[in-house]
Amino acid sequence: MLRRSLPGGLKLLVRVERRPEVTPRYSIIVSLGMLLLAFLASGLIFQLLGFSALHIYRSFFTALLSPIMLEEVFRRSAPIILASIGLCYSYRMGFWNIGAEGQLYMGMIAATGVVVLHSAGYGTGQHLLLPTVIAASMVAGGAWGLVPVILKVRFGANEIITTLMLNYTAILLADFLVHGAWKDPAGYGFAQTVQFPSTARISIPGVSDAVAYLVLAMAVTVLTLLVFKFTVFGFESKIVGLNIYASRYAGVGISSILVRGVFISGALAGLAGLIVVSGLIGRLRPGASPGYGYHAIIASMLGGLYPPAVFFSSILFGMLVTGGDLLQASLQMPKSGVEIIMAMIFLATIVAEFVKRHRLTIVVRGRGVVA
């Protein structure tokens, strides 16, 4: 509680109480309000740094909404959507997986591995290449996610720490491979692998990549919504997140639900990795992901783990990532400017959670009045 004395013996009191129930509508309003605040606060910081916030935002959004940039926004949003929808599976079970980045990297590594072998003349024919890279990236991402699950179920290791550590492991493994065994011999010494052949890319004939990715991301979002609403697995995963005692009592196989949920989570991050290497940059190289897996964490939280909302908050992050390059190019502002916005959104999401669950009242209290 916060107390301030005002002149005249009045007291200003800010009280915080738990709110018994949160309606979905209220929750959306709070999230949007906080989002707005995040942009205002970032604007303030830009202003203090000597930039015109209004100018930045205006050129930022007008540029992003132009057809060409919009296409780029959607391309970049795709991996974030896939990873953040994946994280919904983890988070609804109360499994605090912050390892989407690592799982995404494992997806990239596995897909690249298949392509490297393929270019060396091993493995499948052209027509099987795409299914193979999809399967490889998803299995690799999923399996990477399972490591912390096993550590948790077996030894009680905290998943926040293990998933974070495994991110670095995966990123360093990718570095190791592109600098070494998988370095493209015809790449003029650059640390990068061979180019992905077009047969290893997800595409829909007749439409652009951006549309194809968006369709895929939408399909995953809708499917996830249906899984959450109508399947036994979706229901039980929610129970596991809400009340572990009741889950045990009701005979929910907690470990098996955890394994399945986190595997799906990691597999979708792995698929996101495939889109990055096969579509966005065409090959694996160090720093291939600018942190899509981390953006996905904030996006899934901001969307309240509700797939359609997560879909849109991921697109917002796609805009920010794309806009970062824009800031640098046209406004002479460092790219990291958008990171201020992202950080603000992250803070706003945390504050929003608090605001949703609590009621703030401000009371001015006179002398001698019993409240």
Partner: protein, 525 residues
């Protein structure tokens, strides 16, 4: 604080009431929980608040404790109109509440729990001073409570004392106790009542919510009875009779209904459904809570487990339900060795289990009532096929549960957490008993928190199940209930089964001796 009131011992209606609630209205979506309630508390009185499940008792007390704000009505404390916006306001005015379920941190010590969130603690608490302060208060009431004991190690009676200490150190002199006796054994209840009398003599006022009329009659100065959100009766206890109260409470509907009279004797040739041999179970503190228990439950009988709580009963039933792995011994269910089997396997083999702490184990408060029913059935046809849930079917059975067990709720879409204490228990019982066909029912405190009519109904269901050939193992703090229903009574003491008493031989006195001293009596298993 109104010192003059503290000096005047005993209730005296002429003095300014400690608390006056006038015309209190509280609505929740679909229900009026309090509908123009007038409620008065005088200094030095024990005021029993009675009423069926969902009558609005807890809501009324939550309003006085600042948890809910009333939609209409005024509250005066010591004559001064007040607005209570949070428990903090209530505590400042000397009002304290002990909830239906304990709100203690089991891993912390008594002193840590008591002074948690305490205003005058300072940056670095002086624990030793605080400890001696606790000891002083505790000894004043004749409690033997070690301030440094871990709360998880305490018996329910002692936990209650910790809850009371929390209020006392904050200077509460209006104490609201919501069903404090529902978890206590008769002896612990007696202790609590002695404490309450003592407090009343000091001028404190106590509101006691209970479903046991005999308790209200024996300890209170005044009784108030609620029904459907309204006060239907309020008078000095001296002028009230049990008959009058029970009629007013349940209407004429159930009293004298001889459902239990026509009990069939147990089928003599029942096959065993549950066999425990030399079962040992670890408790939470890493010491054996159940030691070498041997027990057989036959189909068509009710076996009651009696014992002072904390003597291994909970751990015993948790082991049978698959929620605790035994360290030694075997559990056989309908001929299959199920030692260490998962709850799901046990369920599928014919076990139905009513957990002791319904709010913690039995429901997910955040979810709706029908989702809580799904908790038990979602995996099975016809409620799901190929992993896809048929929510219509779930809703149908949820409606059935709600109507047959008279769960008082606006709709099956309401959150289970919004149900009153007794209605949570009805939901759990209803779900378990409508959606399963058990051969063994393990019921821990099945009538806990239920009003008279609902307890009757549950007891009747238990004897009906028995006559249908179900084996029933029942825990209860209520000796009368155990004596009334059980064909055999098992007494536990110090984690051991110290005796099995047949229906004819059991008396409250005999059981009392066995429960408190662990003396083995004649075994008739």
């Amino acid at each position: 604080m109104a010192e003059d009131l503290l000096e005047r011992p005993g209730p005296s209606p002429t003095s300014i009431p400690k608390v006056e609630m006038r015309g209190i209205v509280k609505r929740f979506p679909g229900v009026v929980a309090n509908d123009g309630v007038d409620f008065t508390i005088y200094a030095g009185e024990i005021h029993a608040l009675l009423g069926e499940n969902g009558a609005g008792k807890t809501t009324l007390m939550n309003i006085l404790y600042g948890i809910y704000t009333p939609d209409a009505g005024v509250i005066r404390v010591r004559g001064v109109p007040v607005r209570l916006r949070s428990p903090r306001d209530a505590i400042r005015l000397g009002i304290g509440m002990v909830h239906q379920d304990f709100r203690l941190i089991e891993a912390h010590t008594v002193v840590e729990n008591v002074f948690l969130n305490y205003d005058g603690l300072g940056f670095i608490p002086k624990w030793s001073a605080l400890e001696s302060r606790l000891e002083e208060i505790a000894s004043n009431y004749g409690w033997r409570l070690d301030p440094r004991a871990r709360v998880g190690d305490l018996s329910p009676g002692e936990k209650q004392q910790v809850e009371l200490l929390k209020l006392l150190v904050r200077g509460a002199d209006i104490l609201l106790l919501d069903e404090p006796t529902s978890v206590l054994t008769p002896i612990e209840t007696k202790m609590l009542f002695k404490t309450m009398r003592r407090m009343a003599e000091e001028g404190k006022s106590i509101v006691l919510i209970t479903h046991k009329l005999s308790e209200a009659m024996s300890v209170s100065d005044r009784v108030t009875l609620m029904r459907r959100g309204k006060i239907v009766l309020s008078k000095p206890t001296k002028e009230a009779t049990i008959e009058e109260l029970s009629t007013a409470m349940v209407g004429a509907q159930l009293i004298g209904d001889a459902g239990l009279e026509e009990r069939q004797s147990a089928p003599a040739d029942g096959a065993p459904t549950l066999q425990l041999s030399a079962l040992s179970v670890m408790g939470d503190e890493g010491v054996l809570a159940v030691k070498d228990a041997d027990l057989t439950v036959y189909r068509g009988e009710i076996v009651g487990v009696a014992g002072v709580s904390g003597n291994g009963q909970t751990e015993l039933v948790e082991a049978i339900a698959g929620l605790r792995k035994p360290v030694r011994g075997r559990i056989i269910l309908n001929g299959a060795d199920v030692t260490g089997a998962s709850p799901r396997r046990l369920m599928e083999l014919g076990l139905t289990y009513i957990p002791p702490e319904g709010k913690k184990w039995g429901i997910v408060p955040e979810l709706s009532i029908y989702e809580n029913v799904a908790l038990r059935v979602a995996r099975y046809a016809p409620y799901s096929r190929l992993g896809v849930i048929n929510w219509r079917k779930v809703a149908e059975v949820a409606e059935k549960v709600v109507s047959e067990f008279r769960v008082d709720t606006a709709s099956i879409k309401s959150r289970a957490g919004s149900l009153s204490g007794g209605n949570v228990q009805r939901l759990i019982l209803g779900r378990e008993l409508t959606t399963s066909k058990p051969s063994l029912l393990v019921a821990a405190y099945p009538t806990k928190g239920l009003d008279i009519a609902a307890s009757e109904q549950v007891r009747r269901i238990l004897s009906k199940l028995r006559s249908e050939g179900v084996g029933v193992l029942m825990l209860s703090e209520d000796l009368d209930e155990i004596l009334e229903l059980s064909d055999r009574i098992v007494v536990m003491y110090g984690g051991r089964i110290v005796g099995v008493v047949g229906r004819g031989e059991a008396t409250p006195e005999l059981l009392g001796v066995m429960m408190s001293r662990g003396v083995a009596a004649s075994a008739s298993a």
